[in-house]
Each structure stands twice: as structure tokens, then as C-alpha cells.
């Protein structure tokens, strides 16, 4: 569904030349950072991995868009960018609060933040669908739930692509929230480490000053990069996806390539901030 009702774009398959160029952008960014500011090499790689996690995770999230709001398609009734921002940013904030407890605990907190937000969202979406709109959950893409084995065709209304939020989509949503939350937190933590290291060497800056500036800058950069990676993934999905069982899920490699290149370019600019 496009805004103006035109056919959604996005062909299948991978464009090999463009993908190679994207990988060259990744390598060039890593190379430039290695030459100009070697201390930030590992953080940049962390940022790229974070982008990959976000991009892969967003593919799991059941996005229904406007058709879902009318009960004509399964999924959560809003756009990819908004859902990813909700789930991922909740994870990012969860992880940021735990940043003082070390990398793994912070990443775990980020994953839980994103996962819990998506779990609550999916639950409440189904409450609204079942008890307020009066529609059962039925997938349009598969006849049998891959996890529970429930059959769907008998519950699918004519003229729709399914409706509600089937169990597999719920699981996909939680997995997506966990992955995207981890990715967002990873980007934040890596940038935080770069800024804390760089600002500490400034003349006349207090330790509180270092902490305040590093947290603010890393936070706003992480939010920016998160949105870039999430929107690029949304463009890859072109609208709606039901979850890991949807045929569109197979498109994830090119979103991963694209998001890694985008996060490498944005991460390079964010790291160059401390070089000049």
C-alpha cells in the first residue's frame, strides 16, 4: 500500500554491482577510521554490527499498516518505521540505563527492553483485534502455523489477506524487538566509548562534562542511525510483512548489506566529529 495508491516498488533479488559498491563503502569507512583514528576501529565495527542487527530484526516484526487497521491484513496496524522506532528505541533506552554495568549486561537490558515492548504491543494489538473488532487471528501467507500447528484457512475472511495477529507473528515481533533493541544499544555503547575516550583528553573539561557530552552525543547519534537503518529496512520490506514465515522475509540479505553500508557511512561521520 502506498500513500497515493500506486503499486509498491521493490523487486526481488539482489543487485550484485550495487551490493559490491555498498560493501566497498563499508570497507572504505573502516579504512578511513583505521588511518585517521585507529582507537575507533573496533567501535565502528560495533556500529556496523548494530546496524545489521537492527536491519535483520526489523524483518521479524509483523507490520500490517493501514490494511491491518481495517482488519484486512495480519499484523500490527502501523508502519515499519514507527514500530521499529518504538521497539528499538525502548531497547536503546533500556540498554543506556545499564551502560555502567558492562557491555553484556547493557546489551541484555537493551534486548529485554525491545522484546518486552514488542510483547506488550503484540498482546494489546490482539486484545483489540479479538475483543473489540471481533476478528480471529488468521495468517494470509501460510495455512498452518509453523510453531503451534493451528490451521488458518477456515478462519480467514473472504477478500482479505488474513487478519489479527497469529502466534508466529507474535513470536516474530518479540524476536524482532530483541534483535533491534540489541542493535540500537550496541551502536550507543560503541559511540559512548569513543566519545568518552576522546573528550577525556580535552583541556579543562570536568569528568561530569565528559559523561554528559558523551551520553548526549552518543544518544542522539544512536537514535539517528537507528532510524536510518530502520527506514532502509522498511523500504526493503515495502509496506507490510507478516513475520518470519512471510515470503518477503527472504529479502533480508540486501537490507543487511544496505544497512551496514549506511551505518558505516553515518558511523564514520560520527567518529570524524572527534578527529577534527
Amino acid at each position: 500500500m502506498s500513500a497515493l495508491g500506486g503499486g509498491a516498488a521493490g523487486g526481488e533479488g539482489i543487485n550484485p554491482v550495487a551490493s559490491v559498491i555498498a560493501l566497498v563503502i563499508v570497507l572504505a569507512s573502516v579504512g578511513i577510521v583505521f588511518i585517521l583514528y585507529p582507537a575507533a576501529l573496533i567501535p565502528l565495527i560495533g556500529v556496523i554490527i548494530g546496524g545489521v542487527l537492527i536491519s535483520f530484526g526489523v524483518h521479524f516484526v509483523p507490520v500490517g499498516g493501514a490494511p491491518a487497521a481495517m482488519g484486512q491484513a495480519p499484523g500490527i496496524a502501523t508502519g515499519v518505521a514507527m514500530l521499529a522506532a518504538g521497539g528499538g528505541l525502548a531497547g536503546l533506552f533500556g540498554g543506556a540505563w545499564a551502560a555502567g554495568h558492562g557491555l553484556w549486561i547493557a546489551l541484555g537490558a537493551g534486548a529485554m527492553g525491545g522484546g518486552v515492548l514488542m510483547a506488550i504491543t503484540c498482546l494489546m494489538v490482539n486484545v483489540v483485534y479479538v475483543f473489540e473488532m471481533g476478528i480471529p487471528a488468521a495468517s494470509g501467507k501460510v495455512d498452518k502455523d509453523p510453531i503451534t500447528g493451528d490451521t488458518y484457512p477456515a478462519y480467514r475472511s473472504q477478500g482479505t489477506e488474513g487478519h489479527g495477529l497469529p502466534f508466529i507473528s507474535y513470536v516474530g515481533g518479540v524476536l524482532g524487538g530483541i534483535l533491534a533493541g540489541t542493535g540500537g544499544t550496541l551502536i550507543y555503547l560503541q559511540l559512548l566509548a569513543v566519545y568518552q575516550g576522546a573528550f577525556a583528553s580535552w583541556v579543562g573539561i570536568t569528568p561530569e562534562g565528559v559523561a554528559t557530552l558523551a551520553v548526549s552525543l552518543a544518544g542522539i547519534f544512536a537514535v539517528g542511525m537507528f532510524l536510518v537503518a530502520a527506514v532502509l529496512t522498511a523500504y526493503n520490506i515495502t509496506g507490510t510483512i507478516e513475520g518470519p514465515h512471510d515470503p518477503k522475509f527472504k529479502r533480508w540479505p540486501r537490507a543487511v548489506i544496505g544497512s551496514s553500508a549506511a551505518c558505516a557511512a553515518c558511523g564514520l561521520v560520527a567518529i570524524l566529529l572527534v578527529v577534527i
Binding site: I21, V231, C266
Partner: protein, 287 residues
């Protein structure tokens, strides 16, 4: 390959609009530099004007981009514009270490490069195959960064990194430098981010449809921009002198009032054109 749906015929040529938007926004941001030259803060409101001019141009870019089926709705284009724009803009403010005059132009150059990369990724790597995509994403990133830079200049009265990270708090009449009381340290920039994002993603999203007309959409963009500008003027109370805040606030209120009354007039005009029930106009393109 997606199908193009013509959003609205007529209106200003996009290249002309781009030129006005880019040059107008740059001039307005440079006018904020008068603050530093003349040791005052009263020129801060030019930052807001720069942001509104950039938003006015960005709305047309979004319209051109969303004439093709993106599949994700209009707001996603606004989010990618501001998400990448904030990266370019914060980097550009650091160029003030070399020369403050480099900041606005550096912001445009860095944002254009970043936007071109993102546009290329969406168009070719993700196989969107939309002819105008690379150019429009690059334009939107420039718009996003100029919006952020303009509003930041308005809230702080300056656009150099050194001044954006160091504010001051008053303790018993004594001004003590504080990093937490600054635009970046206090994360005022996050609020500016959302104010800019709402202003860029709302106008076309609100006005699209078979009855969309160019002047109404553009006026809606101005109205959203000035509305954000009022909020930024209120936020600048923390950073600027009283007289500078009053000037910013009065300018924003007057311009918002004007744009809102114009928008209502245009809306009434378009509503009147549909007074007698007619079949929905075909906007062309093949499904």
C-alpha cells in the same frame, strides 16, 4: 519499477524551489552569525526562518519522492531525512574549530554526500528502482540537516560546537559554566529533532489525495514550520537574553498566524471546489 502517480499538477518548478530553499536557508543561517560579529543575540530568529525555508523545500522533495509507491508511507521519508541530517549537522558544527563560516556550507556538503550514499542504497541495493530516489533522499538529508542547524542556531544563538556544548548556570548571581546546561549536553537537540521531523513529515501526509493542490501543501509546510519555531523560541528562554527571546517569539507568532489564516483560506477554497458531489478525480498512472 514502480508506477508514478502525479501528486499535483502545476506549482513551482522543483529546481527553482530547490535553489530558493537552499540559498534562502543558507543566507538565513549565515545571518545568525551576525550575533557573533556584533556581540548580540537578537538575530537568533533567522535560524528558525532558515529551518522553515528548508522545510518548505523539503515538502516538495517528499512529494516528488512519494509520487512513487514507497510502500511505507510518507513519514518514513521524514524520519530518514532527520536521522541522517542530525549526523551531518552535528559533524558540521564541529567544523567551527577551523572557521565558523564553514559550518553551514559544510553541513550542506556532508549531508549531500551522506544522502547520496543513502539514496543509492535505497534505490539500487534495496532494488527500489525509483528514478528520482537518489536525488530526493540526498535533498531530504540536506533539508533535515539544515532544519536541525537552523533550529539549533535559533535556540542557542550560535552554531559553533564549542558554544553548543558549554552552557552556564546561575548560582547566587554567579554564572558557572556547565556542560549539562547546554544545547547538546542538555539534549535540547533531541527535542529539536522531533520538532523538525514532525514539521517535515506532516504537510504532505496531511494534504495528499486526489484533491491535493500545490499551494495548500506548501502553505501547510510553512504553518508546521512556524509552529515548531514557536516551540523553539520558548525553549531558547534558557539560552538567550530576554530581548532576543521576545523577538524570536513575536516573529514566530506573527508568521504562524499569517500562515495559519492563509492555510485555512486555501483549505476553504479547495473544499468549495468540491461543494457539489463529483466523482473522485482520476490522478493518472496505471495500477
Amino acid at each position: 519499477m514502480s508506477v508514478k502517480m502525479e501528486a499535483s499538477a502545476g506549482g513551482m518548478d522543483h529546481n527553482k524551489l530547490l535553489a530558493i530553499g537552499l540559498i534562502g536557508a543558507l543566507i538565513c543561517i549565515y545571518l545568525v552569525y551576525l550575533n557573533t560579529l556584533m556581540s548580540t543575540q537578537v538575530f537568533a530568529f533567522f535560524g528558525g526562518l532558515a529551518a522553515v525555508i528548508a522545510l518548505w523545500w523539503g515538502t516538495d522533495s517528499i512529494k516528488k519522492l512519494c509520487s512513487y509507491g514507497l510502500g511505507t508511507g510518507v513519514p518514513s521519508a521524514g524520519m530518514i531525512a532527520l536521522g541522517s541530517g542530525v549526523v551531518a549537522m552535528l559533524f558540521a558544527t564541529k567544523l567551527a574549530v577551523i572557521s565558523p563560516l564553514l559550518v553551514p556550507i559544510g553541513c550542506v556538503v556532508v549531508a549531500a554526500i551522506l544522502g547520496a550514499i543513502l539514496g543509492f542504497i535505497s534505490d539500487k541495493v534495496l532494488n527500489m528502482n525509483i528514478p528520482v530516489m537518489t536525488r530526493m533522499i540526498a535533498e531530504l538529508t540536506v533539508v533535515g540537516s539544515l532544519t536541525m542547524l537552523g533550529f539549533t542556531a535559533m535556540v542557542a544563538g550560535t552554531f559553533s560546537f564549542g558554544s553548543l556544548i558549554l552552557g552556564s548556570i546561575s548560582v547566587m548571581g554567579l554564572a558557572i559554566p556547565s556542560y549539562a546546561a547546554s544545547v547538546i549536553g542538555g539534549c535540547v537537540i533531541a527535542t529539536i529533532f522531533m520538532l523538525g521531523a514532525i514539521a517535515i513529515q506532516h504537510p504532505f501526509n496531511a494534504c495528499l489525495g486526489p484533491n491535493e493542490s500545490w499551494d495548500r501543501t506548501q502553505m501547510c509546510a510553512l504553518e508546521c514550520g512556524f509552529l515548531s519555531m514557536i516551540t523553539v523560541a520558548i525553549m531558547s528562554i534558557v539560552f538567550l537574553s530576554f530581548i532576543a527571546v521576545v523577538i524570536s517569539f513575536v516573529v514566530s507568532i506573527i508568521l504562524w498566524g499569517w500562515s495559519y489564516s492563509e492555510l485555512i483560506k486555501l483549505s476553504k477554497r479547495d473544499a468549495f471546489a468540491w461543494l457539489d458531489a463529483k466523482p473522485i478525480r482520476e490522478v493518472g498512472g496505471e495500477q
